[in-house]
Symmetry: C2
Subunit: 752 residues, 2 copies
């Protein structure tokens, strides 16, 4: 029977070359079997019209592809950078082909198959003639695009389209396409570009998956193995590095897809490059996992490394603010959120292959669109049945490092019905080539707005006028530098002297993460290597006091050094200054703060001395009043600064900061309170609680063993915080006399 | 019978002093009769529970006042500036009393009357002991507040509360309050403060209305006449000016409420101070009009000056962006919108006393709240019946000047379902003491976002830390100066040399306003007095071309002078620069652009020469791409500037601008295209139409009679615009030869 079908099929296809309209699709081959399968197609078709979110998604895809078909096939000779015409057209092509494949399978209309076939034939004709892309900006130039990364995108999506029409195409055509286009393309991305293919890096993951996906479609085991395990080591120079500073093989000498799961993911699902690139890599990670699960179920890829791929989706959703935008840790473009298509795919796949977590459905509901396969079907059905539960983001720690022992990210959150706050404390490892030199830095969010920012990257992704949409040089000269972050800079030099090798060898050490008491959530970590001879120990506490409406943050930065240094601690706020407790002078001419490590990009708008044991700085942003209260020495300098100097292309945002500078200092403590205390309503013209709730913060003791602070509320109340600096055990008993008062407690901190 | 009732009433009230709970409210006097009336109270009571918006508003008012009653009466000795404790408390008191009066009438619960009575007795006890307010910042210090303006607010609201309990109070108490508190307060605000009371100014309107409202409550005709017609001239020094630079009597020597209707309102309902102050003044204008209509219907106040008070509400609603925020013309705080309570009142009163315009209902629906009187009842009933129609803001001209012959505001709008654009062109008169020196300036809006801004005022209203919430000195040194606006500055000197007397004597002249063709909307005006010997003629055109998705703006600034000058034309954009067609240099140190007329507040971030006949400048803001294309001479300078210099309190926003500078030039034309052409999506990371649709704009002829331009589209299309500079007649026939081509047309402009 099957043989007969195959025969009939070949016969019909042969006819189809001259009489396209009359082609009948039939079986005889088990394609599709990559993402869609013959089984899932049949199941979806039986439900079409009764699964609202799925139906809507399909209808949007149909409108898009129908318009593209109407416009005609356009396969231009590659020429432009990102954002330019040929770049954009080839991107459109793979996206439309992938959708057309789905439409062909689900709607059964040949025009979609024809569209893909004709497009692929055009590519097959052009491909053998292509040199590497004429734009020479990448270490791994592609064929259709300026970098292999985009070529891999093309192949990952196009493989799915190809799979959808594989059975419909006559064997001569699949043979032709396999031989002329796909196998050479896979070899090009791997064997011919080892520095690209064999790294542990999100780029390489795309490369691995591109090769793996097309390998699965063609049943080419050599390609599948190459995708999973990387290139043969004999073919590669193990000491070579790419131009981003990354190594070609990871520390363990492994490569390929599985190495890219093993190494950058921590057991908690945190991806060391940061959420922006995790978001980008989630698509190839999960779509390939889905394909492997369909075709190589014995691999049990979703159970690999204790199910890390599913955990990674949860981690990623937790690395967003109240609006679903990713925290821009390391290189991250602001505004990217879980509404992006790779997260639609990720959420659906995690729901299907995980434990059908109903919280994922509420994210899917917000996304309003699903992946057009079995996973999206399941999500759409569950949404139809109203199974979703809110995705409440709780405080959590996400460890970094493949074994989870290389620091991490501590997120302290406060949620109530009206507002949320999120403190993101970064004591993670370097994060590969997209990592920033920002040990123990943090950022603060309120209701989806940035309060104290991480600058993110310096790039306008896909805006051609801005360096072809690629990274701007200010990414290295400013955005990655330490001064662009809310953390300590010693002697105006970035952490690890901005050396990638050094940064990659080290990581901070977690000291405390304790969020058991939601009114006193604490995270603490130490960094001993960013500046040799200097130990930085930062503790951040989110305290919800019964007398205050919102929580406040206590920030304790303890520094112990073996020489005297200058320390800068910037706070990158937004908005307008409302008041300062200290005097300052403004210059007639603006000068930069320094000439390297990012300081050359910062204007000194004003500076003054603390002249007091505690200073206050109040600003207004997003209709809210914020105050920084900080313990100071009288000689501490306060610098009001703004980004924007030495920026000939106006690439940088002109964002402000306040810097607390301690000169000629060996051991010290920066102790600060950060609070959101009031609101301004420009319609009612009413300022509510425009003043800080605190009068000052005081360091009442500081030595190697203990650091003790006193917080003075404006209304007279006082609270004491004592940290044990050397023993973080929860059971250890401490007792201490400070100013003739005895304090006894158990565990690593005291608060009363 | 009536006598008996009165007797019974007095008897019961006498008892009430010891047995408050048992007081029975009864008639015997026709109060309330000011805003609420016995008739409207009875009508409202019959509908309560079945008028959703009204019921909700009442319930919010009840919750607010109940909480205030719970907290207890607090009438502190006046001490603080705006934003401070005593200021805020006295504001709360009058707001709560006014609401309590309504609650007493509508719900019949004595506790509200008692609350008002006890509060008034506390004020009556304190008032005679009060000197003028200890804060000496105002030219007209109040008693409870630092300025009489706020005291007038107090009296306008408190009069309503008093009216609501007047009949409930024993006559001894009303006599006592009238004599001890209210009549002295009215005299204080008028006779004792003539410089405040007798001006034509929004402040004085509040003063007039305060005196008039309490006069109506007390049936005190002397006060009512004083409110309507001002002080007796014999008592006032006619040549004196207040410290804002305003005159005590207006040009015609009239004063009082009617003068404040006559003079600042144009026949179109535009209020010369601008929308921000119109919004503020609408409440006293309309609430007093309502009271007069209730008690002095013969005055036919709503028909006064051809019904200008109702027209003014329509004008004001049209002076908002897509979000309902007022255009910040002259002194205006951004963010103020038609959601403010004075506009709730204005919309309801205009609906009731006007022609029940159903468009007003859609605004009321957005506001979600109504005035708690007959007008609010009518609106709530109409909303319940679904009578509302959309308030679509069309292109319109609003004349300025009491006779409508002193220039005006031209608003060109483009609306489609997805997006709106609004160009606001200001050729209005000086606008009294809150006026800016910004002849022929404009601002541009898209979808409620500012594209090219009017800076607005420099003030943080009611933020105590910022100069007590009052105007900041940068309001005069920057915000009011010409350079803070998108218009021509000659020789770095503000219009009229920033002299109020000069500015007040002159106004631009309207030349063309024609929006008949929605695809070619044109507004044009001339200013001959801002710089003696120089005529400025600016024409702005909003063109919707069939080939472009959105309209573009053509901006033609023709200058004719009798000497050579330097001209600056700034465009105050927001966001980040994407590309420039011209080269520029950035300095190592930032210097200011100048040392006076606002230039001292501007940093020169970069400057270069055009070196071409046309320049382009593209920026990205709010995820949209904009381009300015401008015809230049090769020697024209381009300056990339930013506000913020010489700003010791950090009062100014650090906003950017591009300035086109022509040096040593006599007659010239600035011709520019301003376009919104593309979008950026940070989630999809896609830039759509990131490049301008135009290649250049060219001045092909310019003389006293005609100015002709050629617009070059990037795709090759060309369009010619010719303006007749001296004859704006629609019927005049013109013919002209330019570069050997003949052009013939009828009317003041040609476009083809």
């Amino acid at each position: 029977m099957k043989q007969f079908q195959t025969l009939l099929y070949i016969l019909l296809i042969s006819i189809s070359c001259t009489q396209e309209k009359e082609v009948v699709v039939t079986g005889g081959n088990q394609h599709p079997n990559l993402i869609l399968t013959t089984k899932s197609v049949s199941e979806i078709k039986s439900k079409l019209g009764a699964i609202p979110v799925f139906d809507e998604t399909l209808s949007v895809a149909k409108a898009t592809v129908d318009a593209a078909i109407q416009k005609g096939i356009d396969v231009p000779i590659p020429k432009d950078m990102a954002g330019g015409y040929t770049h954009t057209q080839h991107k459109l092509n793979y996206a439309n082909m992938q959708k057309a494949g789905v439409l062909f399978q689900l709607l059964g209309d040949d025009k979609y198959a024809i569209y893909i076939r004709d497009m692929l034939l055009a590519y097959a004709k052009m491909f053998p003639t292509l040199p590497r892309h004429p734009q020479i900006r990448s270490y791994a130039r592609g064929k259709l695009f300026w970098q292999c990364l985009n070529d891999s995108n093309w192949l990952v999506f196009t493989s799915q389209a190809y799979d959808c029409i594989y059975a419909w195409l006559p064997k001569e055509q699949t043979d032709y396409l396999n031989k002329t286009l796909f196998r050479p393309y896979a070899d090009f991305l791997s064997i011919e570009t080892p520095k690209y293919f064999n790294r542990v890096h999100n780029h390489s993951t795309w490369g691995n998956v591109a090769v793996g996906m097309i390998g699965l479609v063609m049943d080419d085991d050599e390609l599948i193995n190459r995708a999973l395990y990387g290139l043969n080591k004999d073919d590669v120079d193990l000491s070579a590095k790419d131009n981003d500073g990354g190594f070609i093989f990871d520390k363990d000498g492994k490569a390929g897809f599985l190495a890219n799961v093993d190494s950058p993911f921590s057991p908690d699902g945190f991806y060391t490059e940061g959420p922006y690139y995790q978001r980008y890599a989630m698509y190839p990670f999960l779509i390939f996992a889905e394909a492997l699960q369909n075709k190589k179920p014995d691999l049990k890829i979703f159970e690999y490394k204790d199910g890390v791929l599913i955990k990674a989706v949860d981690a990623l959703l937790n690395l967003t603010d109240a609006d679903g935008e990713f925290f821009p840790l390391n290189d991250g473009q602001k505004g990217m959120s879980y509404y992006t298509s790779s997260l639609v795919s990720a959420v659906d796949i995690a729901y299907y292959y995980g434990n059908q977590d109903p919280r994922l459905l509420s994210v899917a509901k917000k996304q309003g669109t699903v992946q057009l396969d079995a996973t999206g079907l399941k999500v759409a059905l569950a949404l139809k049945e109203g199974k979703e539960k809110p995705f409440v983001k709780e405080s959590m720690e996400l460890s970094d490092g493949s074994k989870g022992d290389e620091g991490g990210i501590g997120i302290l959150r406060y949620n109530n019905t009206e507002e949320t706050m999120a403190l993101v404390y970064k004591y993670a490892a370097q994060g590969l080539s997209h990592g920033h030199y920002d040990k123990l830095s943090f950022s603060l969010y309120e209701n989806g707005d940035e309060v104290l920012q991480d600058y993110g990257l310096s790039r306008f992704v896909n805006v051609e006028q801005k360096n072809g949409g690629g990274y701007l040089k200010e990414n290295k000269t400013y955005a990655k530098q330490t001064i662009a972050h809310n953390t300590i800079i010693q002697n105006e030099i970035s952490h690890f002297e901005y050396k990638y090798d050094l940064g990659s060898k080290n990581h901070p050490e977690k000291y405390i993460f304790d969020v058991y008491d939601t009114n006193f959530q604490i995270v603490s970590a130490k960094e001993k290597n960013a500046y040799p001879g200097t130990e930085m120990h930062r503790t951040m506490i989110m305290i919800k006091d019964e007398d205050l409406k919102k929580p406040f943050i206590v920030d304790i930065n303890k520094i112990q050094a073996n020489t005297k240094n200058q320390y800068d601690l910037p706070f990158h706020y937004f908005g307008q200054i409302i008041s300062t407790s200290f005097d300052y002078k403004i210059p007639n001419k603006l000068k930069t703060l320094g000439d390297k490590y990012g300081y050359q990009h910062i204007w000194n708008e004003a500076s003054g001395k603390a002249n007091a044991e505690s200073i206050q700085f109040t600003w207004l942003d997003n209709r809210r009043f914020y105050t920084l209260t900080s313990a100071t020495n009288k000689n501490d300098e306060l610098i009001l600064a703004r980004v924007g100097a030495n920026d000939p292309e106006f690439n940088l945002r002109k964002d402000p900061s306040i810097i607390i500078r301690k000169k000629n200092t060996q051991n010290t403590v920066y102790a600060s309170i950060i609070e959101s205390h009031g609101t301004y309503d420009p319609v009612k013209e009413v300022a509510v609680n425009a003043y800080s709730n605190f009068s000052k913060i005081e360091v009442i003791q500081d030595n190697a063993n203990y650091t003790a602070l006193k917080i003075h509320f404006k209304e007279g109340k006082e609270k004491t915080i004592i940290l044990s600096n050397l023993d973080s055990s929860q059971s250890k008993e401490h007792s201490l006399n400070i100013n003739n008062k005895n304090y006894s407690w158990k565990g690593s901190y005291y608060y009363k």
